[in-house]
Symmetry: D2
Subunit: 261 residues, 4 copies
């Protein structure tokens, strides 16, 4: 069964900026979805900001294995209730790939618990992404590095938690570096942040970038099923303790009472 993937995109700049609409006539989401579907093992649909629930209804998310996120112009327009809905699905095991300016999306900051800030420059300079972890599945099939001739610069410090693994580190022509590929796990959900993708450059048409995105979806996919109890704080009464014990001492909660949250 293919990996069921949704590519989410704001889809704002494609409607308002000529350069972006020429780069991505089908929208960034359309281009990425096509790249993901190219080898048959990933089935990629799309969702955008203006749709009902931003295209992320509970029903759609329930059947989504991996969500890819691109946003930049209007992170604030994403409703908090949708952010929480996505976060819950990530904790239950849905993979999440956050792209480029998505570092400041509500969902990424929500899951990182840190500012996710960085420095930046829009000068069309050269970026060279070095594979620092060649055995990682997200780097499969790549050479020692690949280049993007025109990209926006993102510079350190990138105020995210120490990652589980660092896959890519970028060199920029203007003298900066950036940890460009970082993995995390939250609950049962695998999360990958991937730096490139400024909308005024044709980054998502690049063959190496497409390969990384497919690898990332495959890596993020957790086939072990939905961990729906990840949100629960169940009481285990004395008579259901794994070992026989007797209750002792004073109590705050009455038998059968739920705890405070």
């Amino acid at each position: 069964m293919p990996i069921r993937t949704i590519v989410w995109n704001e889809n704002i700049h494609e409607q308002t900026n000529e350069t972006v609409s020429q780069n991505y006539p089908k929208g960034i989401h359309g281009t990425i979805a096509a790249a993901l579907s190219a080898e048959g093992d990933i089935e990629a649909g799309t969702a955008t900001l203006p749709e009902l629930d931003h295209g992320l209804t509970a029903e759609r998310l329930k059947d989504c294995d991996v969500l890819v996120w691109w946003g930049h112009r209007d992170h604030d327009a994403v409703h908090d209730v949708i952010v929480e809905r996505v976060a819950k699905r990530v904790w239950e095991g849905m993979g999440l790939i956050v792209l480029h300016s998505g570092h400041f999306s509500k969902i990424f900051k929500r899951l990182m618990g840190s500012p996710c800030a960085l420095s930046w420059r829009e000068a069309g300079e050269r970026e060279r992404l070095w594979v620092v972890n060649p055995g990682h599945p997200i780097a499969a099939g790549l050479g020692p590095y690949f280049e993007l001739e025109h990209e926006e610069m993102y510079g350190e410090p990138f105020s995210v938690p120490e990652p589980q693994e660092t896959v890519f580190v970028s060199w920029f022509q203007g003298g900066e570096v950036f940890r460009s590929g970082l993995t995390y796990r939250r609950g049962a959900g695998n999360i990958f942040y991937f730096r490139p993708g400024h909308e005024t450059y044709p980054t998502y048409h690049d063959a190496n970038v497409a390969k990384v995105l497919r690898n990332a979806v495959r890596w993020a996919h957790n086939p072990t099923g939905h961990w729906t109890t990840v949100h629960d704080a169940p009481n285990v009464p004395v008579d259901r303790a794994p070992e026989k014990i007797e209750e002792r001492g004073p109590r705050l909660h009455k038998a059968g009472e739920a705890g405070y949250r």
Copy 2:
């Protein structure tokens, strides 16, 4: 200069439950503050829920090196604006010690980006905390383990991110285990979660617990000063790039413009 510490407590059960008020006539915060101050290198004040800004004004937090957090009955009563204020100070370098039922506090969930759920049982059973990382400063001066004869059980899975280091793992009489001492870093802020401390038992009068708390405050204290730029996403214009480059290609942002957030 002593480490300036604030012990924050809801201070609800002390006012409403006879067992708790007998355990902690000065409040949980008072008992912990006294324990922290016992060796002279920590200067511990207190703050509680009913105070203005819950006792956590911007001015107080600015001069706070480490914040200790105990809450249980009414996490929701903590105002979101105070939670964000505390989170910002953590990212800038203030240490944070989260105790027991604080696993469900707004501030801990905010910084972890995960549900922070667990299972529980209030039966006054025996807890034995094993030191799994004897070289860690938080375990300094302890033996291989220490016991609390009466404690609430917390059981795995504890849905938090993989920690930077695991310091303690608890054995419970009823058959469960729990990762009882976990370290994290968010921005420049060191965070320690420490499990024991159910309010109906005299846990914070225990000498080993007091030692752990003092060790934790010393470990969490980051003397490198406030990293106030952790929240910023500065533009680095072409003429201030570390290496000389020339601007190329199309641009989304005008010169001097701030980025989107």
Copy 3:
């Protein structure tokens, strides 16, 4: 294509101890290999200490995706040259599952860089393994915990490096705890340490243990191919630098010279 797996066993106690030979008439290796092969996606052969090269010739290892290791009585009998050969294949991407008393095997200590010590007691007591990371592929299909009625106790501190992820924590009847399932990566090689398996008990006939072993082999398998350059320290001469630079200043090495190792 099935995952090509070798189950390595000392095969000493099976020949010398009646209890062990009754538990494992086909040897521990035979029992584990049968468990691994049960669902068809793993093809498990075996190798033992007395064989030429301990059954681990360079040729066999080259085609091995995952190696499973059980040893106890005579770790020292394993030749250092074979240990290095196995270590190299791990760095190149071969998975490694280290079982029980293998914590003191040469290969595990070699890859951890630490003592890998622990405390122990052979009293046939009850072990309960809690899943602390339910979304991890190694825990797929398990309940919240599983029990082994008779096992040797291993107690903390387990002097290994902080793992990439903790999957299981054990509760012991005698009062100890142990981090029973730990993951690591060295080079391109995924490593899993799994605690149970004392030879005087029938542990490897347990259905949950068999499930964990199959899950672990699938998780450890790295299909990205052999990273054979992981051992190299190549010189990149000036004329092959990614960016054009000119050589400056004094030099220690002559052009084309290999570096020191």
Copy 4:
């Protein structure tokens, strides 16, 4: 009490290469020891390859809080027994700072359990070290980055285990990147790898490098005392188990017997 530090150096190139001897008339060890001692809280002695036991007798190591290691030309000349002696002290809590070409020293490879390889070029190019973790004590007092106008290039992939924290990432003029400051813990020992320091350049006279070295020694120092039992695998007999249990089932070991290693 000052932090008792030993700066170890091969001291070969200083005797055989004119450029190196001009850079470091007191030897690399002398220059580093002077830099460490500059602020009074560190007491730095030296040790070199030709001395008895390479200057690292058991007695000297016993009173050593932090060891700094520089080697390049003849890693193989370091006796294995000394390597094991140093490793043991690291596990017991001695800090270790490994510099530059020390990535291929026996002691570093021993503690990492991986090849520790990288690519390199000796062309006197510019290195810019970015602080990616500004709140880390090793980066205290530094700006966003610092530069070394002439350095040897080290390029990724650096085949070391995923670090506990990444402190620095280097940008090189020739187009490469490198994770230049990495922390690890092995047993109770804090380990820091710091990239710069090619002997034909005056790197250790640089004020920022000196600051990093002092910060690193302070960070690596573990004042909790020697964890000398880190090497032990003690038996815990039934009558000394924390909880009362009765022995059951067959046994491999006789009472009081030591385990196999």
